[in-house]
């Protein structure tokens, strides 16, 4: 990783088109990497879904604002971390030296977010239940709490921690002091899931520049290395996937850790950014990533293990609960935050002495798909 740039993350960005929003992020990333996109970049990867864009074949709208006109550029219908995986593989073929990855959220352009989520469910089965799409999060949280040693209060604690962390992130929209009691008292929407445990939507664009080892050393004194990357999916059927355990995250981590030669991650990893679009997801993901000593994420959280000053700060950025749900840019945000941490450039939310970090993504309701990246300074 040789360059990062973002523009965000307010609740809405009426003054920018999605192209202008991305252009701003790209300018910063290219300056940070010291590359000219018109000459130095071999390939561009954009992460996007048509129904977030409101544009069929949204690939069409991608090149101009990245400097990708008349260059190799393609879209991944996936989260930003999947885009990083493609860039990584392209570089590993030996044919590409510098690859750019972009993902954005223009959630404020979407007037019917729930309607679009519902449209992602199987058309012949679940969609016809006519339920609010978040029912699935309620089911998962219920199964998770039932099976694992965590409580509703632990989930509320995640909200408190992440909103607190977000107070120290320069671009977070939802930082603040929230007590566990306030979260517990918020409206129960999909029992046991409560209103305050659902991350709000935000806008933003993120651009990362990746380079081969040789090129990276040429471009920067402080490259951040991808040591391992993995991605996986559990069954698309709600009945045959695991609701209690985030198996997709465990399988993705297995792949990433194997590649990185990383064993006993809970002891070795200094900082983690994991998907917390619903509060229980952070605990579920920490456990699946082997960062909780089995099913003990709630207990560790209560002990302060994941706090800014704890042994393994989790979501020091504030995560989706504090910064906002960035749709397909959520995973790229987490990768970028780990890069900032390992560079020592995370400002007021810097984790002291972090040299090994993990970023994890989940594609959101109704998927059981996610990715993991292991990064090192």
């Amino acid at each position: 990783m040789v360059g990062i740039g973002y523009e965000g993350f307010p609740r809405e960005t009426p003054h920018y088109s999605f192209k202008e929003l991305t252009f701003e992020a790209a300018l910063k990333a290219y300056e940070d990497a010291g590359v000219d996109p018109r000459k130095d970049v071999d390939s561009f990867v954009v992460c996007e879904e048509d129904y977030w864009a409101g544009w069929s074949i949204s690939d069409e709208g991608a090149p101009d604002q990245l400097g990708g006109v008349l260059r190799p550029l393609h879209t991944v219908s996936g989260d930003g971390l999947n885009g990083v995986a493609n860039a990584f593989m392209q570089i590993k073929t030996g044919y590409f030296d510098v690859v750019v990855v972009e993902a954005h959220s223009k959630a404020s352009d979407i007037l019917t977010y729930e309607g679009i989520l519902t449209f992602a469910f199987d058309p012949l089965f679940y969609r016809l239940l006519n339920a609010h799409p978040h029912f699935l999060a309620g089911l998962e949280m219920d199964a998770f709490l039932e099976d694992h040693e965590n409580t509703e209060e632990d989930c509320a604690e995640v909200v408190r921690k992440n909103r607190e962390n977000a107070r120290h992130h320069e671009a977070a929209s939802f930082g603040g002091q929230t007590s566990v009691q306030e979260v517990m008292d918020s409206e129960v929407l999909f029992r046991p899931l409560k209103a305050a445990e659902i991350s709000p939507l935000a806008d933003g664009s993120i651009v990362l520049v990746l380079a081969s080892a040789e090129k990276a050393r040429e471009l920067t004194d402080q490259p951040i290395w991808i040591r391992g990357i993995g991605w996986s999916s559990d069954s698309p059927w709600l009945e045959t996937r695991s609701l209690a355990e985030a198996r997709y995250a465990r399988w993705a981590a297995d792949q990433a850790y194997r590649m990185a030669g990383l064993e006993r991650p809970r002891r070795r990893v200094h900082v983690a950014e994991v998907d917390d679009r619903f509060a229980y997801k952070e605990l579920q993901h920490l456990e699946a990533l082997g960062l909780a000593g089995g099913n003990r994420a709630g207990a560790l959280l209560r002990e302060g293990f994941y706090e800014m000053k704890g042994d393994l700060p989790a979501n020091p950025s504030g995560g989706s609960l504090g910064v906002g749900n960035l749709l397909e840019a959520s995973g790229l945000f987490r990768v970028m935050e780990i890069v900032r941490q390992l560079r020592g450039q995370a400002g007021e939310h810097q984790v002291e002495g972090a040299t090994l970090g993990v970023a994890q993504s989940w594609r959101g309701i109704p998927t059981a798909t996610g990715g993991v990246a292991v990064l090192e300074a």
Partner: protein, 386 residues
């Protein structure tokens, strides 16, 4: 770098409507491809999915929906998307999964179910236009092709009859394809010229049909390929390129983005003179004129020359440069991304000597497949060797 081979291909019938769901079509194509490769799903390290707009199938995040049919559960599963260009682009993504060393065996599964959307697949295409600059004019997708075709014809002085010959050739070639939807052994140039005008110069028989279908490929590293396959076909060059979103800002008479993608692929494949070295080609032919446009973009014909080559029979299955021996989208059908089966899949079958009645004579050694997509702005190209 690691060599990558195609060792199996499969596809469903292409039809206006199939009973099978998208997942089921994927499953059928995957089974056929794995059978040919002599492998089972457990041998597969990763799956690449390709499909065009979600609006056809009527499912947001369609890749997630298709994943069990494509064999992606508990595997690294990745959907890539470049509109119609996906037909030859997802195999490129499959290539980098193997060439990078991350996987030894990769399944590439492309799907399109265009019959789900009502009243017509065109309804989905209405949303491919810029929402502010174009959509208020209530455009139809065919407009854009009609305008490109008109520009191409006018700049190079091309007669419609010479374009119609492509439709005739491909629909006749398709007679030999077991999956074909619109094969016609008796079609003539006059039939095309007398067919209903849709958006002049585009007439009904200039256009490929909307279709349901799926296709699959098995890609393998050199070690695996030599172990399990008698006839591996090697991916020796890949390229892709996109032009600006602002399609009204460029001359539509020549696809510069394709020329760049082709140069990238030829460079990687060490092909110096494509006109001499390429034995068989499957350019993307959703409209008859696109085959010509693409032959020129692939640098297999000079600008404005492809219609002449067609008239002279060079592009016939037994000609010097067999072009769309499968029958192409014009004859076999156009389930957008799933046309991988008649592009990359066909070149694999041709170079492996497994194309049956469609086999071009003289045991071809070098083949090229190409697809095209987005707002007339993207192309993907693959060079393959026997």
């Amino acid at each position: 770098m690691r060599k990558v081979a195609v060792i199996g291909a499969g596809m469903t019938l292409f039809r206006r409507r199939l009973l099978e769901t998208g997942k089921e079509m994927c499953f059928q194509a995957v089974q056929m491809a794995l059978e040919e490769a002599g492998l089972e799903l457990k041998d597969v390290d990763a799956v690449v999915s390709g499909s065009a707009p979600d609006a056809f199938d009527g499912v947001h995040m369609k890749g997630e929906y298709l994943l069990d049919g494509a064999g992606g559960v508990r595997k690294p599963y990745m959907r890539v998307f470049t509109g119609g260009g996906t037909a030859c682009f997802s195999p490129i993504a499959g290539w980098w999964h193997v060439a990078s060393g991350l996987a030894d065996v990769v399944l590439v599964v492309n799907e399109e179910k265009m019959s789900s959307i009502t009243p017509h697949p065109q309804y989905a295409f209405a949303n491919i236009w810029d929402p502010i600059l174009d959509r208020p004019l209530k455009p139809n997708l065919v407009w854009i092709f009609a305008m490109e075709m008109n520009r191409y014809m006018t700049v190079y002085g091309i007669e419609k009859a010479d374009i119609a010959r492509v439709a005739v050739k491909n629909k006749r070639n398709a007679v030999d394809h077991p999956a074909a939807q619109l094969a016609d052994p008796n079609i003539t140039v006059d039939d095309v010229l007398n067919s209903e005008v849709m958006a002049w110069p585009v007439q009904r028989l200039d256009i490929s049909p909307p279709s349901d279908g799926a296709s699959a490929l098995v890609l393998a590293s050199e070690d695996v390929a030599r172990q399990v396959s008698e006839t591996p076909v090697w991916i020796s060059g890949v390229g892709w390129c996109i032009d600006s979103t602002m399609w009204t800002n460029r001359d539509l008479s020549f696809p510069e983005y394709l020329a760049r993608a082709a140069q990238q692929a030829y460079g990687m494949a060490k092909i110096e003179n494509p006109r001499k070295e390429v034995d068989v080609v499957e350019p993307y032919d959703p409209f008859d004129y696109k085959e010509l446009h693409h032959l020129e973009g692939l640098l297999l014909a000079d600008k404005g020359e492809a219609p002449i080559l067609t008239r002279e029979g060079v592009t016939q299955r037994d000609g010097e440069l067999p072009t769309c021996p499968s029958g192409g989208l014009m004859g076999v059908g156009n389930p957008i991304a799933a046309t991988m089966g008649i592009k990359t899949g066909e070149i694999y079958w041709q170079l492996a000597g497994k194309a049956g009645r469609r086999q071009v004579p003289g045991s071809p050694q070098v083949g090229v497949c190409q697809a095209w997509g987005d707002l007339m702005q993207f192309s993907s190209v693959m060079v393959m060797r026997a």
